[in-house]
Every structure is written in structure tokens, then in C-alpha cells.
């Protein structure tokens, strides 16, 4: 890999990298929210029994 970042571009490059990091953090937060939301869904134990292969 080769990349050249002129000194004049470094501030902008750093800002872009920070933005990417922030965006990733937002995605991670969104994923966490989604997982939390899914974990709030109650599963009816009886319904779970109905699909048990042990029966």
C-alpha cells in the first residue's frame, strides 16, 4: 500500500478519518440499539415448546 498525504492535506485527512470513526461509532450504536430492541421481544414459552424437536 502507498499513500501520500501532503502536509496541507493532513488536517482535512484527519477530519475525514475522524468522520469515518464517528460514522462507524454511530453504526455500532445503531446495532446495539437494534440488538437491545430485539432482546426486548418476549418469546412465548409455550410456543417455544410447540416447536421443540424433543417432542
Amino acid at each position: 500500500m502507498f499513500e501520500h498525504i501532503p502536509i496541507e492535506e493532513q488536517a482535512r485527512h484527519a477530519a475525514a478519518e475522524a468522520q469515518k470513526t464517528a460514522t462507524q461509532a454511530e453504526r455500532n450504536a445503531a446495532n446495539i440499539d437494534y440488538i437491545a430492541m430485539m432482546s426486548d421481544i418476549d418469546i412465548d414459552p409455550e410456543e417455544e415448546d410447540e416447536v421443540s424437536i424433543n417432542e
Partner: protein, 443 residues
């Protein structure tokens, strides 16, 4: 004389009845070509001479009015990506410039054009093990290539601390070329810079097992703690990491005398007590230099550089720095000539010259000041000219780290110069965990 002879005689200025040898005719023919037809235009089929003015006009048309490449245009990129270079003898070349690859960068450097495409302070990025490493350009044509076929260089220095690692490990206090038999031994502490109470004391210990040839004895007390009551360990050699035996030292003079220990080297068996307690500040013998210049796996690159040398722990768990670096990046690096100060306690002071591929910068290259008066460890890199302390701070992640220079604290055998987390110049023990900031040159 026939007709053609007459014509020839006239053309040559002789009389019609004269006769000439071939040599005379050849001499008289010099510069006289008017006897045959002379063309007034260039032709692709005629075998006749052509008028001077016709040739002059034709050549003039070749010159045209477009600019020639000159020394003044050397290195200027044209819209088609082609630039010009001028050799020392004035020969002008048009060359393709590639600023998108490491090989292209090396080509630019070798042509002496680096300053036209790059500035000190620019960053170049490569990868190691899939992660980016940012290199600051700290100098252009400041380092001298070791290979005399090249004259240009561009010096890179990692923007961040790459690893927290010891410059060198604590060394052994004794090393035995011919081994040492089991038994009781003692030695006298002539100097102990950090524990005044130990100075003059005689220390004894008893080994239950023989030490083989090349074996070592390592004291385990901290540099600022007494040896009385501390332990001493026997190792079969410099590469052995498991102690064969560890026994306690006590005050006393029983058994065989091993001599005295001091900051200086007192014999062929006894090391400097400073190096036994702090490690060595000799860059050319350091573990850091071995780590930075190896592409081998963990445990495969460290070798003892002296009979007393010992390995720091990370060489058994961490691959050499060059391993996992982009191969095309590594291939454009070249050795440069460096001078490094030598401590005045064990190494005789002065400076030693070496060829370095990956190195830690020196004190003068970062601060502009000499460790030893008269020893030039290199001019300050342009990147650090007019720098503030804050500009010298290096980070590992978000934490500012102390980072090692390659310069020793010259009045000591075990302290290494470095840059504090505030950017100031200081020193720290070689065995301490400081940051390594690799530097290297494209040659």
C-alpha cells in the same frame, strides 16, 4: 586526354595538356565540388550535392519555435505526467514520474527530485500486518546513502510510537568463557552509583551446580536496592532464558574471589555494574536495533552481542519490525551512514560510525545539540528545526510516551537519551519500557 580529362583539368585549375597523379588530383579536389550538378532542393532520390543554403534552411525548420527542455524545466511535471531531468553533463531526459507507488517514490528520490514532489512534513502511508503506519518525511537529502552509487535520500520517521519496548535488557554481571565449577564465591563492590551503603562490601554466594562455558551470573536486585540478601541466577548462556540455579547473596568473603565490580569494566569476566543493573546504552549492541532490523519471527532474531548480553522479554514474543511490513516499502529502503556517541564509562567516548537501515534518531537529529562535544551525530532534521517541545511529543494511541533516541547518556553505561512525554530531552534506563519510533531512508 579525352573530354572528361579536359573538364577535370579546368575544374582543378591546371592546363589542358597537363597530366596528374591520383594523389595530386585528390589534393586538388579538396573543397571543390562544383564540377558536378548541385541540387537546389532536398531530395530522397538524388545523389548530387545540395546547396549550403538549402541545408541551412532545412535544419532551421527543424528547430521551430517550441521551447527545448532546459535545466530550468528539470523536474517540472507536464500535463501528460512526463517530466524532464538534466544529467551533470547536460544531457536532457524526459522521464515518466510515478507518485503512486513506493518504487515511483524511490525513482524520484534517486533522480534528486524529491523536493519537487514532497515536502518535509508530508506523510507517506504503508501497512504492517494490515494496519497503517504513517511516516513523516523529516528530511530530504540529509542522510548519506551507504552505497556510494547513490547520493540522494529521503528520511522517514514513524509519526507515532510503534511499540513500547526496552532499548536493551539488564546484562549479566559475570560471564565465564571457560565455565565455573560449583562452589562458594565472593566479590567486592567497588562502585554502586545508586546504593552508597553497598560500596566496599564483600558479597558471597554458593552455587550447587557447575556453570558451563559461556555461562553467566545475573544479579536480580533493583538498581537502587542493596545486593545483600538479593538473589543471583546462573544461566548456561546469553540465549538461555531459564535460570539453571538461583541463590541468595550474603555479606561475606568465603570461597573463591571473583574480583571487584565497578561502573567500569574491571576484567574479562566482570561486567560494568551499571550494565548489570540498567542494561546497555550501546546502540550498535542493543536489542532495539536487532528488533527494528529483523524480518524474522519472534524468538528467531535476537543474538547476544557481547558475552554479558541478555535478551529482553519481547524478543521472544514479538516478531521483528520488518516482518509484515509491505514488501514494496521495505524494498525501497537503503542503508545510510550514521554516527552514534559512545559512553565514556565503558565504551571510550567519542563516536562510532555505522550503516543503518532502520534506526532511532540521535539527540542532535531531534534537538540539534551534541551529547559529546565534537561528536557529530547528524544535523537536526528539517522537520524539527524551530520545533517546540510539543512538536517532539510522540503518542501511542492517545497516550504520550517517552521515546528512545539512539544516543547514550554519555556519562553512564546504562542510561539512554530520549524524549519525554512532554517533549523534553532526558534519559532513562535501557531496560525500561520506552517507545521505539523507527526511522529509515528511501535511497
Amino acid at each position: 586526354m579525352n573530354y572528361f580529362d579536359v573538364l577535370l583539368a579546368r575544374q582543378l585549375g591546371g592546363g589542358s595538356g597537363d597530366t596528374y597523379t591520383k594523389a595530386q588530383i585528390d589534393a586538388m579536389m579538396q573543397g571543390k565540388v562544383g564540377f558536378s550538378d548541385v541540387d537546389s532542393a532536398l531530395s530522397t532520390t538524388s545523389e548530387n550535392p545540395v546547396q549550403n543554403k538549402v541545408i541551412t534552411d532545412a535544419l532551421g525548420g527543424k528547430v521551430g519555435t517550441t521551447d527545448y527542455a532546459t535545466a530550468a524545466t528539470a523536474g517540472i511535471v507536464k500535463p501528460d505526467g512526463v517530466t524532464t531531468t538534466v544529467d551533470a553533463d547536460g544531457t536532457i531526459h524526459a522521464v515518466n514520474i510515478d507518485v503512486t507507488s513506493w518504487y515511483g517514490v524511490r525513482d524520484i528520490v534517486r533522480r534528486g527530485l524529491a523536493s519537487r514532489f514532497f515536502q518535509v512534513g508530508d506523510q507517506l502511508i504503508c501497512q504492517k500486518d494490515g494496519n497503517n503506519i504513517a511516516w513523516d518525511i523529516v528530511g530530504i537529502d540529509q542522510d548519506t546513502p551507504a552505497d556510494s552509487n547513490f547520493i540522494h535520500s529521503m528520511t522517514l520517521m514513524a509519526h507515532d510510537v510503534y511499540i513500547n519496548a526496552a532499548f536493551d535488557a539488564k546484562e549479566s554481571l559475570f560471564a565465564f568463557d571457560d565455565g565455573l565449577e560449583a562452589g562458594t564465591y565472593h566479590f567486592t563492590i567497588d562502585q554502586q552509583p545508586w546504593v552508597a551503603g553497598d560500596v566496599g562490601k564483600v558479597v558471597q554466594f554458593t552455587l550447587a551446580n557447575d556453570i558451563p562455558a559461556g555461562g553467566q551470573l545475573v544479579v536480580n536486585n533493583a538498581y537502587n536496592a542493596t545486593m545483600i540478601g538479593a538473589t543471583i541466577s546462573a544461566f548456561s548462556g546469553g540465549t538461555s532464558v531459564a535460570a539453571a540455579e538461583t541463590v541468595t547473596m550474603a555479606e561475606g568473603s568465603d570461597g573463591t574471589d571473583l574480583g571487584s565490580v565497578a561502573s567500569t569494566l574491571t576484567g574479562t569476566t566482570t561486567n560494568s555494574i551499571q550494565r548489570a543493573l540498567l542494561g546497555s546504552n550501546n546502540w550498535s549492541q542493543s536489542a532495539a536495533r536487532q528488533y527494528l532490523n529483523s524480518d524474522k519471527a519472534a524468538g528467531a532474531y535476537w543474538t547476544p552481542k557481547t558475552k554479558w548480553d541478555r535478551p529482553p522479554g519481547y524478543v521472544a514474543t514479538t516478531a521483528g519490525f520488518l516482518k509484515g511490513l509491505d514488501a514494496d516499502f521495505v524494498s525501497v529502503l537503503g542503508k545510510v551512514v550514521k554516527t552514534t556517541s559512545q559512553n565514556t564509562v565503558t565504551d571510550g567516548g567519542g563516536g562510532i560510525q555505522s550503516e543503518e537501515l532502520v534506526f532511532q534518531p540521535s539527540r542532535s537529529e531531534i534537538y540539534g545539540s551534541a551529547e559529546i562535544t565534537g561528536v557529530n551525530e547528524g544535523a537536526i532534521y528539517d522537520y524539527y528545526k524551530n520545533a517546540t517541545s510539543a512538536d517532539r511529543i510522540k503518542y501511542q494511541g492517545t497516550a504520550a510516551r517517552y521515546w528512545f533516541l539512539r544516543t547514550p547518556n554519555a556519562s553512564n553505561a546504562g542510561n539512554v537519551r530520549g524524549v519525554t512525554s512532554s517533549g523534553g530531552l532526558n534519559y532513562v534506563s535501557a531496560y525500561g519500557a520506552g517507545g521505539l519510533v523507527p526511522a529509515c531512508c528511501i535511497v
